[in-house]
């Protein structure tokens, strides 16, 4: 698997394991929270880019969660760059 396929697989797996938490909205919030909390900035950006460019390999819950998660990604602190 290439890196993007791995990330897609991971996102779907997280969604599958959280799909039974209440409504789809509640489940999506859990998945988004998980991605926010545990994924590196570069991984988040890659999966967001994929969602916007194609997204077809992501299951529906993962798609909703990634869309939610993108608003919480923090910009790279300016004083760490370079």
């Amino acid at each position: 698997m290439n890196q993007l396929d791995t990330l897609i697989h991971m996102a779907n797996q997280i969604a599958d394991n959280n799909s039974h938490y209440g409504t789809q909205e509640e489940a999506a919030a859990r998945v988004a929270s998980h991605l926010t909390k545990f994924w590196a900035r570069s991984m988040k950006q890659q999966i967001i880019d994929y969602l916007h460019s194609d997204g077809s390999k992501l299951n529906p819950l993962a798609q909703i969660a990634i869309a939610q998660m993108q608003s919480s990604i923090r910009p790279e602190p300016a004083d760490l760059c370079g």
């Binding site: 791995t6 545990f38 590196a40 602190p77 760490l80």
Partner: protein, 957 residues
């Protein structure tokens, strides 16, 4: 804690735990002791030392030697003080003419059948028989030495670490009783009667042919030189000792390193150690020779590429080279293109420093630890449900358990000293439930009650835990008061509704797990109705695609039955390596600062920024598998690995090797040229646990001191190397001693604020949290509340692993470890432990073997979706049909060539326990193994700086 050879006092018999006190008089001294204390112990507690030979305070009183006879007013005869309980009003005399005569007579008989070679005896200076002869004033042996005796008895040298010299044996039975009571193996016995009585291993063969597991308890118990370490026979008695902590498994045993100068003569389990209470296993007790093995890397080395010879350089040059390469990579590929990996084999202070170097010096959060591949789901699952990423109990808590569930763990092999304690409790009558595809040795515990074994199919843990919970809820076995008082009601109601669904009923889950429903129902009832039910689990829980779900499922079960917050119960992860708990506590994970404080927590991060003097990244960094993927993708280019062998221990070896080869700079700090180092550009010599100061934190959150007993072979302790690298990178570190690092940890970590080296000296060890609220630490967690307020039930839907069998791969491979080897084997393979396990084999069930025409010892090709390797067959009924098993202790075995990228959904912990494979007879090693051998040969030549190998045509694999 330097001790100038003052052996720890032996009080003769175990302590009584009674709270009722009795007062008696011994030699005119008024003595008050707990009811049930022996007269011998009562006397010893008040420095009245009664002669003894067959008594030892880690063994029940035996009353065999009679040397401890005393006189008690109003009692007939001279009773043995070891077997006589102290009673209120008793008047005891321990020394008078009559007793002296009796004791001299007894010693005279012993000595009449004992070699008089004290001056040349290896126990000279450490012999209780010699001491007692002196104590009773023996001056002659009236019987002579010409009668029948045992002086020509055969010696047994079969064990690599100790000898059995029967001519020195006084048949006190201490070794036999230690094997039974302390270790629980029952390998030794007294054979024959009367004069013919003798200690025998097993059925009268030698020690190596018996069930002996070489724990050393018999050697420790022996009052003469009958059972004696070969290292002492060779080198003589040690002259000083230093208490330190074992560097093997997560039990974290305390040992006295007994020394002659800077040479370790033997490691003796320390009775004052709170984790092990004076017991040990074959690894900690005997397998320390690796520390001075000739393979040790003693000089820093560098090279530009992995096909070039290593060049020995000074520390300064190596550090400067490493720093320059890291800076160059970061300049070319960006801030996040480099990272570091810490190890659970390193101390708290070392792991803290590496993650600090990454976060503050590399300016990113690309730090991870080998807990990623073992217990990361424990951290996730227990924090989500109980609020703290740690086990809830002390090891001693098991002695209060009535029902013990062991899930996916093999304590007698992987955590042997705790396994012995557990066996002791099982012999006392606790019930055992094992949830494991394999028939582990715990099920064969002597004197075990009717144990329950749920041999589920690999990969179906969550279905099983849900079925157990379903029974508990549907049959009304929940602890409703506990749930109402301690648990979050909304989460509980959601979980209850989830678990009540009929799909979780054992009858409906049977097809998934393969375990009959009635067995599951019985086990659930047994656990739920026990006064104290405890769950212990290991990597058979965590190393699955649903490892985190399973950890949460275990917590659900404990919460639902109220088995949390007191002695005898709890959720107990058995950590694989010595400092798994510590490496996680110290902020090794990419998303958490020390003390499990998330990097996005602005308040916590600000505290670190203030003390560390730099701005920190507020987003998580890459995990180890993400680092590998990024390396192959070309965005991650440099890695600093301290004490970890990712090339051997991580799954899908082809993938790992590709990642390592993609790096522009790999810096490995290790005591050996491990498999990862063969792909490195900088090799920095590590220091063994004997060569440094620091602390380890064991599986019960116990912080123990690691004390330096010899100089670092390469001149630097590991923390000094990290500090040098930080300074060379321009991030200043100026610690003078690891205690200063611990002081910084305490200042930044809420659960460690009370921890210091001074306090560790004072208390011996500390179970965190240790802070203002719990100044001496906290043995049992969650007694009154949870760190998150109320316990959180979690929804744990069973999601089948994608790693499934089919016609091409019809068998399931599961992996594990054995007693004599440790993890990747880098340490134990360089000791005599090799005699027990010099190669990894594939265990195959007889029915699967018969189907394929496989016989014991055949070479088998094992193929999976990831790769192929070849191992020798061992026919075994320990697994179910359809399941095969191997260990990963030898790099050439290539066990991880076959394991896949499948991993836990929450943490990416690899699914080592489930790999679909096919097995067939073959006649030669796999292609990977052939390449491995060539590459290994090349790298060893390059280690010698042999540039000629470049033109020899030895291909890099």
């Amino acid at each position: 804690m330097l001790q100038h050879f003052d052996p720890t006092k032996d009080y003769g018999t175990p302590a009584s735990l009674s709270e009722t006190l009795v007062t008696l008089e011994i030699d005119g001294v008024e003595v008050t002791v707990p009811e049930g204390t022996s007269v011998m112990r009562a006397a010893a507690l008040h420095d009245i030392n009664i002669p003894k030979l067959c008594a030892s305070d880690n063994l029940e009183a035996f009353g065999s030697c009679r040397l401890c006879a005393v006189q008690i007013d109003g009692r007939r005869g001279l009773p043995a003080s070891c077997t006589t309980p102290a009673e209120a009003g008793m008047k005891v005399t321990t020394q008078n003419g009559k007793l002296a005569k009796l004791r001299r007579n007894i010693m005279e008989l012993y000595i009449s059948d004992h070699p008089l070679d004290c001056l040349t005896c290896p126990a000279n200076g450490d012999c209780e028989l010699q001491d007692m002869a002196g104590a009773v004033g023996l001056r002659e042996v009236r019987y002579g030495f010409d009668g029948e005796n045992h002086l020509d008895a055969e010696k047994d040298h079969s064990n690599p670490y100790f000898s059995f010299d029967a001519s020195k044996c006084i048949v006190c039975s201490r070794c036999v009783r230690a094997c039974e009571e302390v270790q629980g193996t029952f390998a030794l016995t007294i054979e024959g009667r009367g004069f013919d009585s003798k200690v025998a291993a097993g059925q009268g063969g030698d020690f190596m042919d018996s069930d002996c597991v070489s724990c050393g308890a018999c050697v420790q118990a022996c009052p003469t030189s009958t059972l004696m370490e070969k290292s002492v026979i060779d080198a003589g008695q040690p002259e000083h000792s230093i208490v330190t902590t074992c560097a093997y498994c997560g039990v974290g045993c305390s040992f006295e390193a007994e020394m002659k100068g800077d040479q370790v003569i033997r490691m003796v389990p320390y009775k004052g150690g709170d984790a092990n209470h004076g017991h040990s296993c074959v690894k900690g007790r005997f397998a320390f020779g690796y520390a001075t093995h000739s393979d040790r890397i003693k000089h820093p080395m560098i090279r530009d590429s992995i096909d070039q010879p290593w060049r020995e350089v000074s520390w300064e040059e190596a550090i400067a080279f490493a720093a320059r390469r890291l800076k160059e990579v970061q300049a070319q590929y960006g801030r996040e293109s480099i990272g570091g990996i810490t190890s659970s084999r390193c101390t708290n202070e070392e792991t803290y420093l590496v993650q600090k170097l990454v976060r503050a010096g590399f300016k990113n959060n690309n730090t991870d630890t080998c807990a990623r591949v073992c217990h990361s789901p424990t951290g996730f699952g227990l924090k989500a449900t109980l609020g703290e990423s740690a086990g809830t109990q002390t090891f001693d808590s098991v002695m209060q358990s009535d029902v013990i569930i062991v899930i996916g763990a093999n304590p007698t092999d992987a955590h042997p000293v705790f396994g012995s304690l557990m066996r002791k409790r099982l012999r006392e009558g606790a019930e055992l439930i094992v949830v494991d595809p394999r028939k582990i040795d715990l099920l064969k515990t002597p004197h075990l009650k009717d144990a329950q074994h749920l041999p589920l199919r690999p990969g179906t843990n969550v279905a099983m835990i849900n079925a157990l919970a379903h029974v508990i809820v549907t049959e009304g076995l929940e602890d409703k008061a506990f749930i109402a008082d301690r648990c979050d009601d909304k989460a509980y109601q959601a979980w209850r509704e989830f678990i009540l669904d009929a799909r979780h009923a054992p009858e409906n889950v049977e097809a998934i797990t393969g375990v009959p429903a009635d067995k599951v129902r019985r086990a659930a009832r047994t656990y739920a109705t026990a006064p104290n039910g405890a769950i212990y689990y290991g990597l058979g829980v965590t190393e699955h695609s649903q490892g985190s779900s399973m950890v949460m499922g275990i917590a659900n079960l404990a919460l639902a039955t109220g088995n949390i917050g007191r002695e005898g119960v709890g959720v107990n992860p058995l950590r694989g390596q010595n400092n798994v708990q510590g490496s996680c506590d110290m902020g090794s994970f990419p998303h958490e600062l020390p003390g499990y404080q998330h990097v996005s927590d602005d308040t916590a991060r600000a505290r670190f920024e203030q003390v560390w003097g730099v701005k920190l990244d507020d987003e998580p960094g890459l995990r180890i598998p993400n680092m590998f993927d990024s390396a192959i993708a070309g965005t991650f280019k440099a890695l600093y690995v301290q004490g970890e062998d990712i090339a051997q221990s991580d799954p899908n070896t082809h993938h790992v090797e590709s990642a390592l080869k993609s790096l522009d700079c790999l810096i490995v700090q290790d005591i050996f040229l491990n498999e990862t180092a063969k792909f490195a550009h900088v090799l920095l010599p590590g220091s063994s646990f004997l060569e440094k100061n620091g602390t380890f934190t064991n599986a019960e959150r116990r912080i123990n001191r690691v004390r330096k007993v010899m100089p670092a072979l390469a001149g630097k302790e590991d923390w000094e190397v990290t500090q040098d690298l930080a300074n060379a990178l321009g991030y200043p570190m100026n610690y003078g001693h690891p205690s200063e690092i611990m002081d910084e940890i305490a200042s930044l970590t809420p659960s460690f604020t009370g921890v210091s080296y001074d306090k560790l000296e004072e208390l011996g060890s500390i179970q965190w949290p240790c802070n203002d609220q719990y100044p001496d630490g906290m043995p049992t967690m969650h007694v009154e509340d949870f760190p998150i307020g109320r316990g959180q039930f979690a929804i744990t839907e069973y999601v089948a692993s994608e790693e499934r069998t089919n016609r091409r791969f019809p068998l399931l491979l599961t992996t594990g470890r054995i007693l004599s080897q440790y993890n990747v084997g880098a340490q134990t393979r360089r000791t005599d432990n090799q005699v027990w396990h010099d190669e990894d084999v594939l265990e195959v069930h007889p029915s699967d073997a018969e189907l394929r025409g496989i016989k014991d010892g055949d070479w088998l090709g094992i193929s999976s979706r990831a790769g192929q390797t070849v191992l020798r067959a061992r026919i075994s009924e320990r697994m179910l049909p359809g399941v095969v098993y191997t260990t990963f202790h030898h790099p050439g075995s290539g066990a991880n060539v076959i394991t896949t990228d499948s991993s836990d959904w929450a943490t990416n912990c690899p699914e080592y326990k489930v790999t679909a494979v096919q097995v067939e007879k073959v006649s030669q090693p796999s292609e990977w193994q052939q390449n491995f051998r060539a590459f290994e040969k090349l790298q060893h030549q390059l280690l010698k700086g042999d540039a000629a190998t470049l033109t020899d045509g030895n291909g890099a694999g």
